[in-house]
């Protein structure tokens, strides 16, 4: 009896090991195969932090200023970002909600912080003061913030990514597949060209 219990525990443990790995793979494969494509324009990042090991650290314009919501959302709580497209074809966050609207592409994200939105107004005496608008600005972190590269390509990718973001003459964007709240980065593009293609044309 004791032996059977022990082996049941071992079997369940091994199943858990496989579950963690396989679940991770299946979820991302389904997202890559069934998800819709969105291009998130990247934002410049601190050059000293851009590369940690073999990946490009990404930051996104779509998230820089936070998103308006009616109430404050506590740190760490899940919320949903509904994704639309701007006139340039880049992804933008259209609205935040606590429940997903399944008819729209959405991302399930954790809230970093939320703060009351304030604007400056002049009173009758001409003095300016800050007043609350009644809305809250919610800041979240996207579930994709790195793009892994082989070690020998990493320094060149870093340079290309940094230059594109610095000059703003070229558009750098992460191509992301979104499906049922999940997201997987498919590629990193500069001016619509995959970064590996860009690097092929870069003198070494």
């Amino acid at each position: 009896m004791k032996k059977r219990l022990f082996y049941t525990f071992i079997f369940l443990g091994i199943a858990a090991q496989f579950y963690v790995l396989v679940h991770s793979i299946v979820l991302r494969e389904l997202t890559l195969r069934r998800g819709t494509v969105h291009r998130f324009q990247t934002a410049p990042v601190d050059p000293f932090d851009a590369f940690r090991g073999q990946y490009v650290a990404l930051d996104f314009n779509a998230l820089s200023s936070g998103h308006l919501f009616d109430t404050s959302i506590p740190h760490g709580k899940w919320c949903y970002l509904h994704i639309g497209t701007d006139t340039n074809g880049f992804a933008v966050v259209e609205r935040v909600s606590l429940k997903p609207d399944v008819s729209l592409p959405h991302l399930k994200v954790r809230v970093d912080s939320s703060s009351a939105e304030r604007r400056m107004e002049e009173d009758a005496e001409g003095k300016t003061k800050w007043i609350d608008t009644g809305k809250y600005r919610v800041h979240c972190q996207l579930p994709f913030d790195r793009y892994y590269m082989p070690e020998h390509l990493a320094p060149q990718a870093e340079e290309a990514y940094r230059q594109a973001n610095r000059s703003r003459a070229r558009d750098a964007a992460a191509v992301v597949r979104i499906w049922k709240g999940k997201a997987v980065i498919e590629d990193l593009e500069i001016d619509g060209i995959p970064i590996r293609e860009v690097l092929k044309g870069t003198p070494k």
Binding site: G13, R28, Y148
Partner: protein, 449 residues
């Protein structure tokens, strides 16, 4: 069949038939060096090193060709090592391969394959994640491997992984407290090792790993809102380890086989030595408590509970040791047993903390002097016990404590180099004289044990 193998088989039969219990078997194995795990120790070490090198080699090969592989192939490679390990384990179960020479390297390779699998999948799918999430996932997923293979390396790796995680989440007090909950999950593994071979090297190594990691983790997980409370907690913990070791560990075994006793004794000595200086007693107590903007009430309670429980546990163990003193010392004695002098250390520190944290500052030297006196007495007691029981280790330990105190105080004093030099020479001569006298007396009484 060798004598050792024959004895091993006989002892298994005796234990099965109830002629001897596990503790007696452990003592017999220790006496005759017939521990089955010790017999294949060289084989285990070599196989483990082999598994480690192969594992690292496979990872390096995969990393070198990673970019050339398609996503599907990468996914297969991420799962392949784990699948192979589980396959080998299943085959081992079927064929009855239960030797640690097979299970220990398998455990290492298996443990590595779990971590490699997580890392490779994260890289393939560009998964965001922090080092702490990775460390925790990997460490917790080691548990099935730990119990399946009973690998000491995986056991030590489990505690080291937990400690690494607790250090990474240092800023989040409620998270890092989970160290203790997760550590408890590996206790049955250690108990099983100790049950199988009480004085065995494998059990010793596992307890060493767990005790060392937990000692460091205690410092990491304490909230430290009440300055100085660490003295009471650490003294209670080291004393409990020492007394627990005296009660559970084999009596005449090497320090590698008695981790609780060794770590507890050494830890308590070092702690008391630190308390002979004034700085630990400065700005302690409620008057100097750290007040944070955010609430740490729950985790501060952990500190307070430990400060209460650790001395209580050591007193409890001291009472048990007192009731079993004839077992521990092998004779009926009316004198105060050795463990009592060391066992009261947390009470001494706790009382000193309570008194000197409530008096005004400028009195820090008094508890430091009292601790110096107490530690000096402990050193003398150790010398006395060593001479009476003919144990050189205790004589040397006691002399080291006394000399450490004298020399430490000389070092930190404002005396000139001449005085310090003379003190060193006198102390050295004393060390030799006591050792020679003790050895001579032991020889006359029938030799050291």
């Amino acid at each position: 069949m060798t004598n050792k193998k024959w004895l091993q088989q006989e002892m298994e039969a005796w234990q099965r038939e109830g002629i001897i219990d596990a503790a007696t078997r452990g003592r017999l194995e220790e006496r005759y060096g017939a521990d089955a795990s010790a017999a294949s120790w060289r084989q285990i070490t070599l196989c483990s090193l082999g598994a480690l090198l192969i594992g690292l080699g496979v990872i390096a090969l995969l990393a070198a060709n990673w970019d050339a592989l398609s996503r599907e192939v990468r996914t297969v490679f991420a799962l392949l090592p784990l699948t192979l390990c589980v396959g080998a384990y299943a085959l081992g179960l079927r064929k009855g391969w239960r030797s640690q020479g097979f299970l220990e390297p398998l455990g290492i390779f298996w443990g590595l394959s779990v971590g490699t699998g997580i890392a490779l999948i994260a890289q393939t799918y560009h998964i965001s994640g922090d080092a702490e999430t990775f460390a925790l996932s990997w460490t917790l997923l080691l548990l099935p491997t730990l119990y399946a293979t009973r690998s000491v390396s995986v056991g030590v790796g489990y505690f080291a992984g937990l400690l690494a995680w607790a250090t990474m989440v240092y800023d989040n007090s409620s998270d890092r407290m989970a160290y203790w909950l997760f550590a408890c999950l590996a206790i049955p593994f250690i108990m099983r090792l100790r049950k199988d071979a009480p004085g065995g090297v494998r059990a010793g190594l596992a307890v060493w790993g767990a005790a060392l990691c937990s000692t460091v983790a205690l410092g990491v997980t304490l909230e430290k809102t009440l300055p100085g409370l660490w003295m009471v907690i650490y003294s209670g913990m080291f004393t409990s380890l020492l007394l627990g070791g005296m009660l559970c560990e084999p009596k005449h075994a090497s320090i590698w086989q008695t981790p609780m006793r060794t770590l507890g004794g050494c830890g308590l000595t070092v702690l008391l030595y630190l308390l002979t200086f004034a700085w630990p007693w400065e700005e302690i107590g409620w008057e100097h408590r750290r007040v944070y903007n955010h609430s740490y009430f729950g985790v501060s309670l952990f500190d307070s509970a430990l400060a209460l429980l650790a001395p209580v546990l050591s007193v409890f163990l001291m009472v048990i040791a007192h009731r079993r003193k004839s077992d521990l010392y092998g004779l009926k004695t009316n004198s105060i047993p050795f463990h009592t002098f060391w066992g009261i250390a947390p009470l001494f520190v706790a009382i000193a903390y309570c008194i000197f944290s409530s008096v005004e500052s400028g009195k820090e030297l008094l508890p430091a002097y009292l601790t110096t006196l107490y530690l000096g007495c402990l050193g003398l007691v150790a010398i006395g016990k060593g001479i009476v029981n003919r144990e050189v280790l205790f004589v040397n330990g006691g002399v080291l404590i006394v000399l450490g105190l004298i020399l430490g105080k000389f070092f930190t004093s404002d005396l000139g180099f001449t005085a310090k030099g003379i003190a060193f020479i006198i102390s050295g001569i004393l060390f030799f004289v006591i050792n020679t006298l003790a050895s001579r007396q032991m020889k006359q009484a029938g030799g050291a044990q």
